[in-house]
């Protein structure tokens, strides 16, 4: 069963197209991250799913029921969708327990109490049920927002940059906690973020957004190793691009010499650039090499080197190495054998 199906969606805001011919489906129990820089239309997409925004083309279905077509929008309150906002949007005049019970006010008092109790247990906030939102930390507020949305038993959860206001110390533990809660309850989710690290940790699949379109969708590893465009490659992490000077049976030739693809995977003959991640490049001290270290800094688990070419001062390449070498030291460069990604 598909929980969410978006077909050929287009959407404009103040006469400007924000989303353009976008399609996306969400499987049962799946968490998809919409990843992209700010202003690329990912929040707008979330708002269209929530019924807070009109669409100009295409349709949106939730649990096989059409909820949005151009000119006909099912009201937000009838969609059974949960949403977590960047500012948590907790009602400041209600206590934690009252906030959680807000969406289930039609149930009997005892049912409400049981539900609130189990939600408080779930997010580990039982001692705080009588507190007001401003008396809680950011992470606690976030958990109340999750509990409130889950108490309503939504078909799908929408999260709009939910972790950006939480300090980096506790961000990842809260993310994993919430991911686990969503998974346990079998609630599928769409998660908007501009941080690839958050998307990696929280989502099953990532949709990379670029100017109102999904550039590429897939799991994290796939997007990192097999990006289909430099845009996706850059978004996923630091990348070096090298011009291909020659192609042969063995592999491709660049200024680093011959690079052999792993397992003999074919290389597109018309492409002119090869993409190399810094960790796929190995350095070793070599006094005869034309390459030398221009800058370096300690990156945590390794040293990060900016390597230049004495024949071509414009050239710059990033590589990682476990050892520390001085600036200006000459280094030889070897490309580790891996599946090569090339672009035109």
């Amino acid at each position: 069963m598909t929980t969410l199906a978006i077909e050929n969606l287009a959407c404009s805001y103040n006469g400007k197209a924000v989303i353009d011919d976008l399609s996306l489906t969400l499987e049962h129990n799946e968490i998809v991250a919409l990843l992209g820089p700010s202003g690329c239309g990912k929040t707008t997409l979330l708002r269209t799913i929530a019924g807070l925004q009109n669409i100009s083309h295409g349709q949106i279905s939730i649990s096989d029921k059409v909820v949005s077509t151009p000119g006909k929008i099912l009201a937000s309150e009838q969609r059974n969708v949960g949403m977590i906002f960047q500012d948590y949007a907790l009602f400041p005049h209600l206590t934690v327990a009252q906030n959680i019970a807000f969406g289930i006010s039609k149930q009997s008092k005892s049912e409400q109490a049981t539900r609130v109790e189990s939600m408080l247990n779930l997010v580990k906030l039982q001692p705080f049920s009588a507190r007001f939102p401003h008396e809680l930390s950011g992470g606690q507020q976030q958990r109340v927002a999750i509990a409130r949305a889950l108490a309503y038993q939504p078909d799908i959860m929408l999260l709009d940059e939910p972790f950006s206001n939480i300090d980096s110390q506790s961000r990842f533990s809260i993310m994993l906690e919430i991911r686990q809660i969503l998974k346990e309850h079998g609630v599928p989710a769409v998660f908007v973020t501009h941080s690839k690290d958050e998307a990696f940790a929280f989502a099953d699949r990532l949709a990379i957004f670029n100017q109102g379109k999904i550039e590429q969708i897939g799991n994290a590893q796939d997007l990192y190793l097999r990006p289909r465009s430099p845009y996706v490659a850059n978004f996923m992490g630091k990348t070096n691009y090298l011009a291909i000077t020659d192609r042969g049976e063995q592999g491709i030739t660049t200024r680093l010499g011959l690079i052999k693809p792993a397992n003999g995977t074919p290389v597109n003959q018309s492409h002119s650039q090869v993409m190399l991640r810094p960790e796929k490049i190995s350095l070793a001290l070599d006094a005869d090499s034309p390459f030398f270290i221009k800058h370096c800094f300690f990156g945590g688990s390794h040293w990060v080197y900016q390597v230049s070419d004495s024949r071509d001062p414009e050239f710059m390449l990033e590589a990682h190495a476990p050892e520390q070498w001085p600036v200006d030291a000459c280094v030889g460069i070897t490309v580790l054998s891996h599946e090569l990604v090339t672009f035109s």
Binding site: V81, F85, Q86, A89, P92, H93, F102, K106, P154
Partner: protein, 543 residues
Amino acid sequence: MFINLNIKWPAFSWLLSLLLFSPLLAIIWQSFGDDHNIFSHLWQTVLPDYLLNTLLVVIGVAVSSMLIGVPLAWLIAMCQFPMRGFFVWALLLPLAMPSYVVAYIYTDLFEYAGPVQRWLREFFSWQSPQDYWFFEIRSVSGAIAMLTLVLFPYVYLLARTAFLEQSTSLLHSSRMLGCSPWQSFVRISLPLARPAISVAIALVAMESLADFAVVNYFSVPTLTTAVYDTWLGYGSLAAAARLSAMMIAVLFVLISIERLGRSKQQLYQKTTGQETKERFELRGFNAFITVLFCSLIFGLAFLLPFVTLIDLAIDYFEQSWNEQFIQYSINSLMLATIVSVCCIVIGLLLSFYKRLSNQRYAYIPSKISSTGYALPGTVLAIGVLIPLSFLDHQLNELFEWLGREGPGLILSGSLFAIVVGYVVRFVAIAIGSIESSFNKVTPSLDMVSTTLGLSPLQMLIRVHLPLVRKGCFAAALLVFIESMKELPAALLLRPFNFETLATYVYQYVSDEQLELGALAAIVIVMVGLIPLIFLNRSLEQQH
């Protein structure tokens, strides 16, 4: 702070603030004095009725302002309908209308000899007042209606801001949790706006408690008129002070409500910025009813009285444009200018002291100096008269002891009294405005200035003054306008034969001859419109 001020700054600031605080102290002290049983006499005769009238007026105005102001605020903040852009600011204009002018105009319209009743009598061929029932405008309910017309904009303004500043994501959340727009209003918008509404209600209640002009004109005796009469009629400062102390007790309650509201407001009104508000589009019948409601209120509270004033002013221009009018305009301008300058200087000194002092209690001088604003004009006048007439007394005795003729009421009977009264009443505006400007100046500028070798005075002149200039200007303008409009304090404190525009207009209102004072009334209204333009512009920029 890290700067060592020499003893002059703190001493001067504390002395100044104690002087500004002295009227309140004087009232409390004097209310324990001997009043020759006037107060107990009043208490056994008329005072219970006065108290009841006061309560009726205050509660009546508060409730009806809420009933008009909150719906208007919600419609303007959350809905889109024809002419909305006009009503946004037009509904603020009644604030500029002096209440006694509105009262006069409606009395003229609705009294027995007025056009409405005349027309009704003609139409139905009624002969005498016994033939029909018509409401009496010179009554408690009439006073409530008149005061509501000029005071409801407080509720409208604060509630509108509250609705606008509610985070959109809260309303969206409520919708996502299954609430319809109407349910969201009842469960989210209204509770969140409640602190702001209670602040507004407290302000409205304070203003109607302080009102002197309307109730006096309508002959509805209240505590304010009692204070006035006790002083002018019985000549008893002590009894007047006792009555004033009673009002201060009520004010204290109202101010506490206001403070509580404000502290909650900060919690409830938090926007994340850069949100676009979607308004509900009203069409057809709903739009018609909305526009009708807004137009009715605007018409009654501003358009009708203002057009009447202009009409009168044109008809009687020859008689109104005379030496008196020019003389009294000059009096008002001069008085307002002197008071503005005094308030700005005091505001600057106290704000600067508060900023630079490293003492724990440095916030107190500016706090206690601001108490005068909460006092009704009549009460404040009594508070100023008590210490000034005491000083006059001492001075005259001193002169007599020296064997010379005493100077008379040189303090309490001269322009000095009215200037002091106005300064005590309006310095709070200056302090508030200047302090908030000071708060916007980052403290690191002070540190830079000191490390670059500036003394506190040099820093005030070379760094702070240029930066808080705008706040000073705004404060001066507001104080100026309030001084132009102030009536009750002027009636009690003005020297013999000294008239301001406000007392001049009120004189004509009392004499049932507003046509001759219409020109002066228009000047007061126009002056009152100036801050509304600024207010509206700053609100538009925020949203």
